[in-house]
Symmetry: C7
Subunit: 71 residues, 7 copies
């Protein structure tokens, strides 16, 4: 079995895509996470219809995250 | 009695369909889960009206899941 | 006093009707449940205005359930 | 002081009216409850504008309940 | 310092006004409360624009309460 | 480091402004708080576009509070 | 691995940008935080389309925060 935490661990220092509860899509390099699935992204950017907003280093609270996918 | 965790265990490596709170429908092969019902899907895709979006490997947070059905 | 868990136990292997938070109505045979009121239904189907969608075996997360009634 | 649990206990086998978070109004005989205020009603019915829907025996999850009043 | 529980205790047997999350306003005599701020009101009534609905004895779940004010 | 609880403690008996989840703005003198950030305000009033509603002594549940600022 | 708490610690006394669940954007100097990610900002201001509102010292409850980014 692949535990959720296992997939997060192999994703460290790789590009991930976060879908948030409010529909926002964040991409960036996963630097770390804790037991609440709070996540740290580097070089994060929010992707919109036809543009992107650069955010840089960011902590995203796990309670707002729907899914985390490896890119 | 069939516990929820029993049905998840027999679903490992099989195709499942997740209904999310925001109405999204995700399908993919269940690779694993934890005690919060956070789930790992492989070859995940989001099914829409008349198309599908390929997502690949993904962690879905249990708090956003309404139901998990065996396909 | 009839505890909620008592009514669930006598409902095992019987038809139940679940009302979900998003207004959906699921019917099926109750196979089991856990302490969070996560439920397992067999031969589940979602009833809509004038049709029904067959779902089969499904785990429904308790946090999305409003009520469980015996049919 | 009258604790919430005290009022529920004297309400056993009496008619109560439940207001749910989604605005629904359920009436029925209170058969029991647990520490999460999950409730069991017998002869439950949902009251609407000018009709009522008979539900029978039902478990209502406490997290969806706004108030419980003695009728 | 006046703890929230201190103000509730001096409010026992006095008229209070509850603002609920769904915007409803309930008034009544506070009979008691528990550690989750579930409350018991006597002679409760819901105040609306230009009328009031009499509810009688009621348990209000704390998770639906925004504020409790002394009248 | 200034802990959230430190700022609340120095705010006792001073005017604070509470932003609630439903957008309401409450002002008043902070009398106390507990570990859930339930708060007690004295001489509370709700500020609206061009008027204010006097509320008096009030317990505000922490789960409805977005932010607490010193005035 | 960079834990979320690590990034918050290096952000102390630096400018951060908070995205709240209701879409509000708060900026200010991070003075501190606790284990629930309740945050203390100094010289906080809310940024809107084409203006900003000065808030001063503020406690922001972690449960309302979507993300915290270093500026």
């Amino acid at each position: 079995m692949v535990l959720p935490i296992d997939l997060l661990e192999v994703s460290i220092n790789r590009e991930v895509s976060l879908l948030l509860k409010d529909g926002r899509l964040l991409k960036g390099k996963l630097l770390g996470f804790d037991q609440y699935m709070n996540l740290v992204l580097d070089e994060a950017r929010e992707e919109k219809e036809d543009s992107e907003r650069r955010i840089g280093k960011v902590v995203v609270r796990g309670s707002n995250v729907v899914s985390i996918s490896l890119m």
